[in-house]
Symmetry: C2
Subunit: 92 residues, 2 copies
Amino acid sequence: MVYLEFLGFIAGFFSTIAFIPQVYKTWKTKAAKDVSIQMFILYIMGNILWIIYGVIFEKPAIYVTNIVVFILASIQIILKIKYDRTDKTTLK
Amino acid sequence: MVYLEFLGFIAGFFSTIAFIPQVYKTWKTKAAKDVSIQMFILYIMGNILWIIYGVIFEKPAIYVTNIVVFILASIQIILKIKYDRTDKTTLK
C-alpha cells in the first residue's frame, strides 16, 4: 500500500514538473502566441479546487503539487499576456 | 463526504477540459512553435502512472479523467510535430 501511494507521488511529480519546460520556453523565446491562455486559466481553476480538496482531506501530495502548478501556471499566464502585448506593439 | 468527493470530480473536470482549448488552437492555427513538446511528454508520463494508480485503487474519477487527458495530450504532441515540420518546410 505504501509502495502504491509512492506511485501517486511519482505521478504527481511528473504532472507538476511538466509545466516547467513550457514556462522556460516562453521566458526564453519571449513568445507565446501559439499557447492557449484558456488552457492555463481552466487548469488554474482545477488547481484551486484540488488545493481545497487536498487541504480538507489532509492529502499534502495533492495540495502541495497543486500549489506548485498554480504558481507555474500563473507565471505562464503573466508571460503570455506580456509577450502577446509586446508582439502586437512590435507589429504596429 | 459525498459533497467533498463531488469537489474532486469538479476539480478533475477542469484539469481535463483545460487541454481542449490548446488542442483546438493548434488545430485551428496550424501552428505550435511556442508550445513546449516536453511539457506534454512529461504530462503523459504522469497520466500513465495516474491511470495505473486509479485502476489499482479502483478510482474511476482518476483513471477516466487521465485517459481523456492522455488522448488530448497525445493529439497535441502529434499536431505539434506535424505543424513544426510544415513550418520548417515552408521556410526552406
